[in-house]
Symmetry: C2
Subunit: 416 residues, 2 copies
Amino acid sequence: MTMHSATLAIDETLRARRAAGEKVLHLGFGEAGLPVPDSVAQVLSAAAGRNGYGAVVGSREAREAAAGWFGRRGVETEPEQVLFAPGSKALLFALLATLPGDVVLPCPAWVSYAAQTALVGKKTISVPVPAEAGGVPDPELLEQALADARAAGANPGVLVVTVPDNPTGTIAREEHLRAVCEIAERHGLAVVCDEIYAEVCHFGKAPSALGYLPERTVVTSGLSKSMALGGWRIGFARVPSGPWGERLMGELVGVASEVWSSLAAPMQAAATYILQDPPEVLDHIDAARGLHATVAAAVYERFTAAGAVCRRPEAGFYLYPDFEPVRPVLAARGIDTGAGLAAALLEEHGVGVLAGEAFGDAVGGLRARVATSLLYGESEAERWEALRSDDPLRLPWIAASLEHLRGALAALTARG
Amino acid sequence: MTMHSATLAIDETLRARRAAGEKVLHLGFGEAGLPVPDSVAQVLSAAAGRNGYGAVVGSREAREAAAGWFGRRGVETEPEQVLFAPGSKALLFALLATLPGDVVLPCPAWVSYAAQTALVGKKTISVPVPAEAGGVPDPELLEQALADARAAGANPGVLVVTVPDNPTGTIAREEHLRAVCEIAERHGLAVVCDEIYAEVCHFGKAPSALGYLPERTVVTSGLSKSMALGGWRIGFARVPSGPWGERLMGELVGVASEVWSSLAAPMQAAATYILQDPPEVLDHIDAARGLHATVAAAVYERFTAAGAVCRRPEAGFYLYPDFEPVRPVLAARGIDTGAGLAAALLEEHGVGVLAGEAFGDAVGGLRARVATSLLYGESEAERWEALRSDDPLRLPWIAASLEHLRGALAALTARG
């Protein structure tokens, strides 16, 4: 197998170009782009002496903190239902390795689900998302897709949903999530509900598959997005109570024990602190949520002003614009694929985005994922200022980036 | 698949018994059992602000430090040949997933190689180690074993060697390592040389497969054993230079990017510091090496005094005693397997060891792996004192543990 996570690859490419002195707007990578609060850094420091391997599942303290965290969000949870890992990506890998059957994905979907599915030797069944919001297959299409997949020799066993969604930055409608869970139940599918963006809804609260199929839904989450701790690699999963969940937990622990052993002990201490919802952490996440919402909305306006259609961002820091309405203009410039669109934006306009095909979308679609979270600043000082600002769009570095983007999109889509 | 790394499982079991108030001697787990030096803890603290995902392979600084570390040990290495991960276990998994073909293992071998091989859907070809030392297949048996495996439909592609070895605590003889590398070359096998114990040889220096098959040997290592940082999960691999190694690196990065993304950034900072070989780190490793050697030798004496045969420990903190000479005595007590031996030691004598079958050894062999590194103390203060002591065997808690062991083994093997 030869591959490299497309999101991580574009991050490395864009950083290398910038290091070489190129002026590149980095809209390619979903790093939350915010600094570490002092209180959290202090917890890590204080835990430096923790060097024992510890339990594969995570420490008692960390599991209790996670159980309480879920409980305060309306999901009653025992510590025994929680499994920590070095990132939710590792947990998703273990789930796809463990849960029997082929894997149903929304299209577009986060890049790693399909790659992990291939890595464990299973098939992907990709079903387009509804027009309203991404992260779940369109329920109108799902039943037929399952029948077609079975007819083609696949054995669908797992449905992955992303609520809120990456790459579209939207939140699945409750009626759609309910409908796909009902179909999953009818077909005996397990549901993996990736909720890593649940704490960064721009308003309100995202639904969860736990509301519709609690006994067969595994939730994955982590601190990479809400707390911008991607580089700390803290992920956790919640497995259902009852015999199905207990058996699955045993199998997940088996994979975990043979692939990564445990989440680093000092990181478990940090997770224990954060998941207790101390006020300073909640304030930090609130401020981050506001910044994400404001900047994503501004970027949305730049894309729609240039003629793209786009779902309005509702969570996280992504957009998924579609340049179909300006296809003739782009075609005149030799652009007729998402990859061509991304290449032109990067090579001619210094704007780095990731083509839709990385997310399983059609090669010929003029779509790309746009991540907005690396606009907050280059330095830690700028990022703190953005986080604390009442009007972050007027900060010079953010305003300049938005102007760079506006100019790039105007040039790309100008007629004649 | 249902499994749970046997070493991690016994650690959890024994810790639970102790937490419940039982007096149990924990000889079941290869945790190095030593505290974190202040200078290393300070580096982690200072790196708490590093929260970006960073490159999958590891930071430039960490890769340069690792390259220098290998270079000072006589192995010229470019930073591009180094890949970091959350533990060398994850790297071994990625190697077994990536390198084509079935997997040849010494017998006994560390528990996770065979489990990982099964996880990636490959076959294990298990070949007994020589009498002199473990970690490599007996070269006299390897050629025939490969022929037999091919005849049985397997396709051997990878040879794993452990130098120095876990579970035997010994160092493969140079002539044996050379001979198995020559056979590997003749049969087109890649060699994975697990060198995680290379810094804890009790005397002298261990050979490496790099000395005999440099262009097809991948070395894995980490800081869990030499620096007792198992709970920090810092591993790294060195891939050969040249086209074969470059292609392999690309494939490993693919797996890494889809399973764990990267080693946590603060841990990379710690690795960068440690791998530069600062004097206080080298002194710490020296002291640890002396303690491991002294205690392992004392435990060796207890086992041989009770009638077991055992290879004399040469590295790390393990022994692999064989109670075959006292089989009649044990048989009279109903013990005729390694698991029976381990169960009797635990249930009747409060001594936790891991039966040989966990390491792929014969079920009926009266062998077990004995880890000595959790004898150094319960508290951080005791562990520091053990590390600094000129005569650690006279420290009351170590002396008491050795006496507990002596009494247990005497009772187990007493006639009539």
